[in-house]
Every structure is written in structure tokens, then in C-alpha cells.
């Protein structure tokens, strides 16, 4: 905490991490950034936790409707999407690995791959949504599907659309964050002393992945 060996570098050298004036050292600054990110991720999980609570309550109240409605989801598309997201989490993690080695080009490549997979995820999601809209498997008052007529079934689709919608919104934010870090990598900014931005960006992406890992079994499998 006391060490202040790390100071911003001299002109001309490859970019060196900037230590903001109010931090004692680069270590402290990175520690603060990481701690802040962990706390932020905790709040994100709590946000989704509210929806999980809703799901648990209504699943308990309407077990048959929920079981029947979950069979209406497209398991194949859901599985593909899960695989896509897990792979994208892997490429995001590789980006951190390369950033530590100052291989900025590879960082760019990994993040571009991640973003492309995110896009693929959204496209698949779009087809799923479109199908549901077509069938009338819609939330609350909009439910028009003839196939299942059990009390509480529209609640399933309410929760389905709310949770996957909120998740998709996070996917979009995550893509923006990764795109921003990619531009920094294009400017060759990362090295073994300075990769916090890459690390935090992919942490966010892992969160997006993690939430889906919960949503997938909750909505598609059980």
C-alpha cells in the first residue's frame, strides 16, 4: 500500500499505465478497480436474483403450467446458444491471457470473436422470440396461445421474456464494453503491467455468461 515505485512513464516509450494522482501506487489502483468490479457484479447478480425469486414462487404455485410451458421452448436453439456463450467466455478469457503478454493483436482478435459470438447469440434469440410472438406465447394479458390452457401459464412467459430480455440487454451492454476495450487494444495499450481494462471487461462478460448458465436450466430444462 505504501509503495509508490510505479509512476507514469517517460515520453516515447510504449504506453505505460497511468496512476491517478490520488492512488498510492499502481497496485493499489488495480486492487481498487478489481474490488469495485466484483462489487458491481454482485449487484448485477442480485438484480437477477429478484427474478429468480419470482420464478421460484410461481413455479411453486403453478407447477403443471410451468412444466408444460417450458416444453414449448426450443431446446435446440437454447443449447446452441449456451454453447455459443460458453465459447465466447473462453475467448474473452484468452484475451486476458494475451493482454498479459502484451500481444495486443491477439487481444483484438479474441474480442472480435467474442463480440461476433454475442451477435450470433442475439440472432438466435431473435428467431426464438419471433416464433413465440407468432404463436402468441406472450406475457400476461397478451397471451394468446391455444396449445396450453392452464392457469398461470402466461406467468411463465412473463418471466421468460423478462429474464431473457434483461439478459439480452446485458449482452448488448457487454458487447459495447468489449468493443471499447478492443479499441484500446488496437492502440497497443496493454502489457503485463497494464491489463486491468481487459480483465474487467472480460469479467463482465463472464457475468453475462454466468447468468445465462442459470437461466438456461431454469427456463429450458426443468
Amino acid at each position: 500500500m505504501q509503495s509508490s515505485s510505479a509512476v507514469a512513464g517517460t515520453a516515447g516509450a510504449p504506453p505505460v499505465p497511468q496512476v491517478a494522482a490520488h492512488f498510492a501506487s499502481l497496485e493499489v489502483q488495480n486492487h481498487a478497480a478489481r474490488l469495485g468490479m466484483w462489487l458491481f457484479l454482485a449487484t448485477e447478480i442480485l438484480l437477477f436474483a429478484g427474478l429468480f425469486v419470482c420464478y421460484a414462487c410461481y413455479r411453486f404455485l403453478f407447477p403443471d403450467a410451468f412444466a408444460a410451458a417450458s416444453r414449448e421452448l426450443n431446446l435446440l436453439m437454447g443449447t446452441i446458444n449456451t454453447l455459443v456463450l460458453i465459447t465466447s467466455s473462453f475467448t474473452a478469457a484468452m484475451a486476458v491471457h494475451y493482454a498479459k503478454e502484451a500481444q495486443n493483436k491477439k487481444v483484438v482478435a479474441m474480442f472480435v470473436l467474442t463480440i461476433l459470438m454475442a451477435l450470433g447469440f442475439l440472432v438466435i434469440k431473435y428467431f426464438e422470440y419471433a416464433h413465440k410472438f407468432h404463436e402468441g406465447q406472450l406475457p400476461g394479458a397478451y397471451y394468446r396461445f391455444e396449445g396450453i390452457q392452464l392457469p398461470g401459464v402466461s406467468m411463465y412467459f412473463t418471466i421468460y421474456f423478462l429474464s431473457t430480455g434483461l439478459h439480452a440487454f446485458h449482452v448488448i451492454i457487454g458487447m459495447a464494453v468489449l468493443a471499447w476495450v478492443t479499441t484500446k487494444a488496437m492502440r497497443n495499450e496493454f502489457s503485463y503491467r497494464n491489463y486491468t481494462a481487459v480483465e474487467l471487461g472480460s469479467m463482465y462478460w463472464h457475468l453475462v455468461d454466468l447468468v445465462w448458465i442459470f437461466l438456461f436450466p431454469m427456463l429450458y430444462l426443468i
Partner: protein, 557 residues
Amino acid sequence: MSPSSSIAAEPGAVPAPDEHHEHHPSYLTDGTTVKSWLLTLDHKRIGVMYLIWVLLFFLIGGIYALIVRLELLTPGPTIIDAMTYNRAFTMHGVVMIFLFMIPAIPGAFGNFMLPLMLGAKDVAFPKLNLTSLYLLLGGAAIAIWGMINGGMDTGWTFYTPYSTHTTTTVAPILFGAFIIGFSSIATGLNFIVTTHTMRAPGITWFKLPLFVWAMYATACIQVLATPVLGLVLLLVVGEHLFHFGIFDPALGGDPVLFQHLFWFYSHPAVYIMVLPAFGVMSEVVAAFSRKNIFGYRAVAFSSLGIAFVGFFAWGHHMFVSGQSTFNAGVFAVLTMLVGVFTAIKVFNWVGTVYKGAVDFKTPFAYFCGFLYFTVFGGMTGVAFATASLDVPWHDTYFVVAHFHFIMVGATIMAFMAALHYWFPKMFGKMYHEGWGLVSAALIILGFNATFIPQFLLGNAGMPRRYYEYPERYQTLNVASTAGASLLAFGFLISAIYLTYALVYGRRAASNPWRSRGYEWLTESPPPTHNFVGPQPTYSEEPHFYVDPKKAEVPDAV
């Protein structure tokens, strides 16, 4: 500035303020353009901006309060119609809770003092700090827009299914509150990280000033509870606009689920409001009793204890929601546990004053009021936690009086104490002590006169949120309205002499109260980067008064 060695020897010592003074402008004079304030990243300026805004919100909420009180002067219609009345008490609650009570002490005094108390140059994330202020203002703007264009008649608790069906403007107000929630999370996150990473060498966890401990515990609640509120607000907005049915019994939803999610936040939220007050008071009581705080660790840990058990007490708002007797019993016991932790604090404050050399200045006057409101309000809370007593009192004026005593009484006392205690540090000016005491007396009296009649009204069965009432309740309602006027008058006096002091006040010494709090180790007002020259070293505890009877603390400079 004197060399740091002298500070190490004498923890309460004050750096000579006037040496080099011209070379180190205070944070107030360092840049005077509007832009240098609006875009500042300096935690002190951000703190001052918070102070200005929360005072404005307090004024708006107070005007709504007076409208509500005036309307209740007579049993029938008095000045407004029933719908306007519903909107007025809703707005009073929303503005006071989300725009005043929650951000006031952390935003204004937490921002200003936390880094100073940690010997840091700033909070960990200055940009996030500024963002948090603007999120608050943005959310406020959206909510106020909603109030002007229709308003809302649900009460600040937004209970479903009414709130999803009312035709008033629910969406912008709830969305505004959602954004304000982000602001609260950002502040809490910033404070937690700051406390973990920015402590100056020498400030160990058990040398943290108690205000920092309280802010830390508050921040934990803000970070852990607010996201759930955010979600539930979104769900209600969605349901209001699109009829998702999640809380609507007609579509299979469950309105009681809303109550669970809402109180999961809103019960801990009352500690978001009151824990900072406890923190302020721990500082004030030590400084004005000239005594080391009694039971430092107990006070510090009881903040964390309150934060923790606060998460398991929400069900006491739902004793009449059809909850099982078993649940009611569990929630009753868990609620009383909060009382135990609060009692620890109360005994320690009293122990601190005992045999102290009390310096009865304005902040101490507020401390006395605070102790009284906390104990009285807290006792009514314990009474409420008894499920069988809650049933007749529920949704009567007894509730209104209870939460105003503990939440508003205690927090306003602390807010005013903080304002007076830290005024010299923040603005480098002294206010008029005599007027300070007069206004404190009026405010404390006014509070009692406003809310004691409401305890009696509630006990006599007058329900809350009613526009008209039977004749027999009138005397007490008139008394309450008279008390509210006295209260408003007390605040008016404060506003006048404090504004006067800002402009014409005597220049304050660096440490006019001869306090040993760490924040007094720098000049008043502090320079831009908080300390001139080497950082002070911290070898003593923050509330270290060796012998209260001996004035071994250096005299005011």
C-alpha cells in the same frame, strides 16, 4: 504546514494554517467558474453540491408536508381535494425518502469527510462519484417531471395491485426512483472500495473513525439491497404499462410477492437512512464530551450487526398480509434483534457522556435530541415488532409517528448536528452559537409537538393516508399541525443564520472544537488535495481524549 512529526506526537494537533496559505488555495477558491464546480472530480466539491441539492429536496418535501398537515387541520375538506391530497402525501414520501434521507448524509458529509478521515486525497473513483451525483439529479428530474404531469396517488410504498392499475403517472416516478437507485449503489460501492484501499499508512481497521465504520456498513446495505428494489420497480413499471401480470391476481400474479421484494429493500433502507446518523453522532458525542468513545469496537461492530440483521426483518411489515403465525413469530424475534444492536450503541453513547467534560454547543444539543428520538422511536419499534400489537396499530397514525420519530427524528438531528459540527471545516466560517441553540430547541420541540399527537391519534384508531376524519380526532390534528409550523419555523431560523454565516461569519480556526477526529488534521477549509505538505501520520485512535478534565488538546487556533 508544520512537519508531520509534531502531529505524530500529538494526535489532536493542528497544522499551523496560515503558513504558505497563499500558495495553497482552499478547495473553495481553487477555480471559481461554474464549470470548475459542475465538472469537478474533487470529493469535497461534490459533497458541497450534494448538500445544496439535498437541502433543496428537503425544502420541496417539506412544502408537501405542510400542505398535507394543513389539509388535515379540519375533519372535512380544508384546502385541497382528495385526489390532490393523495398526490401530496405520495410526493412528500417519495421526495423525502429517495431524494433527501437516503442521499443526504452519505452524499454530502460522507463524500466530504470520508477521504479526509482516511488520510486519502480523494475517493477511489472520482468520476463515478460525480456520475452518482448526476444520476441522482437525473432521476430526480424524471420523477419531478412525473409529479408535475399528473403525479401519483399510491403512497411512497407503491403497493400493487393498486399501483399497477391507478391512472396516475406511475411510470416516470418509478423510473426516476430506479435511476436514483443506481446513484445510491454507485456511492456505496465507491465508499467500500475507498475504505478498503485508500487508508493512509497507520490507519488500521480499528483506527477508523466511527463515522467511517457507519458509512461502510451503510454502503454494504446500499450495494446489497438496492438492486432488488431496482428490479421490483422495473417490474411494476412494466406491469403498469404492459400488464405483464406478475403482481396482478387477475392474471395469476401475487401482490404479496411485491411486498416481499419491496420490503426486502425498504426495511434495510431505513438503516441506509439511520446508520449514517449513528455514525455522525458517535463523532459528535466524543468531540463534545471530550472523551474517547466508550466501547469503540462495540459501536463499530453493532453497525455491521444492524446492517446484517436488517436483511432478515422485512416480514414485520407484513404481519397483516396473511403470513403464518410461525413466520410472524420469526420476523418478530429477528426484528427485536435489531433493537439489541441499537441498544448497544445507545449505552455506549451514554457511557461516553458519563463523566465527560461536556461542551454544550449546538451539535451537542442535537445529540441530546437524537438520543431521545432514537430511544423513544426505537421503543415504539420494539412494540411494533410484537405481532399482536402491530395488528391494531397497522396503517394507523401510530406507524406514521413511529417512523417519523426514529427515521426522520434521528436522521434530521444527525443531519443538523453534522451541518453544524462540520460547517467550520467545510466553509471555514463560524455561525452564531446562540441562534444555533435557539433553532435546535425549536426544532426538537416542534418535532415532539408534531408527532406525539400522531402517536395518540394512531392509538385512538385514526388510519393513515385518509383525507377526512371524524370530528373527535380534530384537537390532536390541530396540535400536530401547530407543531409542524413550529418545526418549519425552527428550520427557517437555521437557514437564515447559516446563510448569514457563509457570507459574514467569523473566520473559523482549523479545529475550533478542539476535536481529535482525523478530518481536523488539515486546514479549514481544506486545500484541493486535502493536505498541504506531507500527509499527517496517525498513531492514535481517532477519538483519543486522554483526560477530559485536562485541556490537553491544543486550544483553538
